[in-house]
Symmetry: C2
Subunit: 600 residues, 2 copies
Amino acid sequence: MHIYNAPLSDMRFLLTDVFDAPSFWQANDSLNHIDMDTVDIVLESLSKFTKNVLLPLNRSGDEEGVGFSHDEEGYGAVSTPTGFKQAYEQYKEGGWVGLGATPEYGGQGFPKMVSMFQEEMMFSTNQAFALYPNLALGAGLCLLKSASETQKDMYLEKIYAGEWAGTMCLTEAHAGTDLGLIKTKAVPNEDGSYNITGSKIFVTGGDHDLTENIIHLVLAKTPNAPAGSKGISLFIVPKYLIKEDSYGDHQIGTRNTASVGAVEHKMGVKGSATCVLNFDKAKGWMVGEEFTGLASMFLVMNYERLAIGMQGIAVTELAYQNAAAYANDRLQSRSDSGIKNPDKSADALIHHADIRRMLLNAKSHAEVSRCFAMYVAKQLDIAKYSDDKQLIATANARVALLTPITKAFLSDKGFEATVDCQQVFGGHGYICDAGMEQIVRDARIAQIYEGANGIQGLDLLGRKVAKDSGAMLFDFLTEIRRFIANMQADHGIKQATLKAADNLECLTKILLNNMSERKDDVNGCAVNYLHATGYLCFAYMYAMMVAASQHKEGVFYANKLKLADYFIDHILPRMQMHMELAQAGSQSMMAFDLAYFEPA
Amino acid sequence: MHIYNAPLSDMRFLLTDVFDAPSFWQANDSLNHIDMDTVDIVLESLSKFTKNVLLPLNRSGDEEGVGFSHDEEGYGAVSTPTGFKQAYEQYKEGGWVGLGATPEYGGQGFPKMVSMFQEEMMFSTNQAFALYPNLALGAGLCLLKSASETQKDMYLEKIYAGEWAGTMCLTEAHAGTDLGLIKTKAVPNEDGSYNITGSKIFVTGGDHDLTENIIHLVLAKTPNAPAGSKGISLFIVPKYLIKEDSYGDHQIGTRNTASVGAVEHKMGVKGSATCVLNFDKAKGWMVGEEFTGLASMFLVMNYERLAIGMQGIAVTELAYQNAAAYANDRLQSRSDSGIKNPDKSADALIHHADIRRMLLNAKSHAEVSRCFAMYVAKQLDIAKYSDDKQLIATANARVALLTPITKAFLSDKGFEATVDCQQVFGGHGYICDAGMEQIVRDARIAQIYEGANGIQGLDLLGRKVAKDSGAMLFDFLTEIRRFIANMQADHGIKQATLKAADNLECLTKILLNNMSERKDDVNGCAVNYLHATGYLCFAYMYAMMVAASQHKEGVFYANKLKLADYFIDHILPRMQMHMELAQAGSQSMMAFDLAYFEPA
């Protein structure tokens, strides 16, 4: 079985030393009941729950996968892997589902800077399991932001209590990235409801046996809706309709005509049900105004995409811990710098520099990404809780700019890290028993779903940078330079970060200039631009961590400084490569005729 | 089902335009019966066989995996996936097993420059299937190089005819990279045979139902053998003993006491049986002299590791073809540079530059790696068939230097390419139905087995470069510079290659200098040094392909030049990054105390 110990020290380091979350909480009326003592209890409880309850189901859930059958009425029905239901009961009973949800609807109101670690621990120990409540919370947040008061009253308490789950039904077979192409229809009834008809794919948690009801949020088109993404509306389509006379206590009634058509067989996260959902005149209720469906979905994207970034961190942490343990135990060959275990016939892997290279790549990724995720979470919290308009505006700008990086860069580097950690195991890494190959398979999805990483690149370069001629980015660079200028510490990260910021500014101006002429350059440069920006963000985060660690006693802080050294030597040089690749533009990509890519 | 069309045009381009293989064959007595007409027939037949017979079994073999049971006598018995046995019969009856084997023992004597494509097509269409005959040929080659005449007479014809298979039994549970730690014992009997006792793991094709016998080549230690790798000997341990009175017609007799203890469940290549093999006083016969076991194995490593490189090419080709087809078909979003399919609601993916970026990364890898593999295959052929001592010495030096790059760089880039091609499919790429996730899982093994890629780095930098102070590398650089100097063509690849060669020379001298002081630097720099060297090799190969394409008519050649442009813009810049990472050395890796890596 995997080993896992939640990195509580690192979490505390970020909350206190780096971001001084308690001061922020103290200064804020909605948060001043929260302090580090409370947070410690929460994190430690979650650490035990995830380790003791979710982790033991991680591999068995992968091996067993989800079951699919038809119930007596002919509806498709998904059963989760053995143990998931009991674990979910425990999770629900513990009140964990609504940890970060608003108290107005029964949530515990913890800020994102705390609930992000709930996500991390859950995704580390059982990504497939964690997706069920994660999607429910996404649906909840979407309702909170866009639904009517009546709708919120009807659904949110149940969702935040974990009694009902939720889904996001966006993709159709022919419409993924391009949601404007969806065909699902919503025909109005006289009572104000709609009949929803169509077929959705890739619905995470589209059905399961964990909750008595599932609230599907479905993108569909009303009659005479304009073509493309401007004609999309959003609908609530519960698996079971709510009894009309029971709105107060939310009893479920008739089965709605939404049914699972199939469950996908996937590379990983096999314990998570990825469903084809067929809607056959299913009863639905519009959320918000007509044609605002995409906008409503996008209101929750920042949170959802941070969650995907957390998956990248989570799999990295799990993979690292297991690979480091293996490297400590496994004896193989002698160290190049002299025998380390003279009593044994070989030295432990950890004495070989190449093994350390792979482990430190992962370790660095886990820690710097965690710091970056908290930076973004803090902006989300400021935007949500602050009453300072200027602070809110800046926070929103940072979130807009950094969300695609959070999603794509953290998941890309997370996949890379799990592959590195698998490699530490040699041949054993390829064998299912060791558990590493599952981590790699599970990690892979984060690069794909919730907007494939190429799309995140386009979002960053096309929408967030190009649209305002880089203003939002340049403002962020100013923040970075100001931080470095104010740093007391003397460490190579200062110079490295400044240089990275200058380089990115220069690259951005070149790209902005080129794009006006070469229309395909946004698309051709986007992914490498995102990676270059990601490494700058990482440098900034290391600068923050160095600033918080220097002149402090103890091996924990000393190691933070060493990891920053490693980052400068062995990670940051990648930024230059991505800059060059971005700068090369799209010309040599577009030089080929279409026929070149056609099958022979 | 996967689509696949063997890249015959590219294979012919390499054989004729780039390497002028026919001239080499003509000039050589052992090869002058081979011409391009014959080779065309061979390649086309193989292309049909692999496409029509092996490809349809690729996914079903992955889904079904191998069966494991116990026979009446209690021996573990592996059954291959449905259809493998019939396919193997066809393959064997076609005389394909011994295509590249020596005619002295019934082989068809085709040079490596041709049989490498047999490997490619088979690995593309069914990597799991291909491993069975591939391992048999490895065992055959090992016997050819090191066994006695009697042993060769007894086994080689059967192996090359495909009647008997073969395995390599090296790894033990505690001894992978470090084979000096093996514990399997070989105790001499009075009749000259040995009793082999021990347990081997990761034995590819350790048992199966494709052939009537399997010839295991087993590393073991004789009594009183010196400790470590110097005490290892090699033994022939047939699954069924050969009837003593039937040496002429090789009838199999008594079952030997070697039995499969378990079959591993793996991330991929699930149709290939990876076995635990238990030897319980199994009868074995020593190959070559006592204590030369590792040396005998290493004699075939160059061929085996080229085969792994071919796997990297093969999975890339398969992934590319499927991703390109998808990108042509799938309509999603509009092109940034204007609507391309006004009659449709969206443009095909292939119009988006980011999709081309991923496809061209794969396409470039497939073509330049194929060229590089042929460069190495040509050196192997020169070393084997030439009678010019100077040419042979140079060829052997090139093979020694480039084998670790062939194995590791081609498999690393192959995995990367399959991941890119999976990404082209978006969410569909994660679903088993699309077949892309299998390619990724299958591709991953090549980075691990046959000497994990980290070990290849050590082989290159530690053994091949450092040991002779870089002489072998510098001689290769001289060849590259001479080639560029003689190039008639006018293309950016000339300058790019020269610069890459200069940079690598400079890096090599720095590393050689550092290593004497910093012992861990070999280990800490090896992988990045290997990648830097790999990109130089790729630049050289592109120079060769450009030289062979310029001033020629036709779109095929024009596209080769365009792909070289793409390489310069979007691939070669990676070399600089790996140089910087290599140059950073091992200091910041080794700065951490051991405790840092211990579980919390």
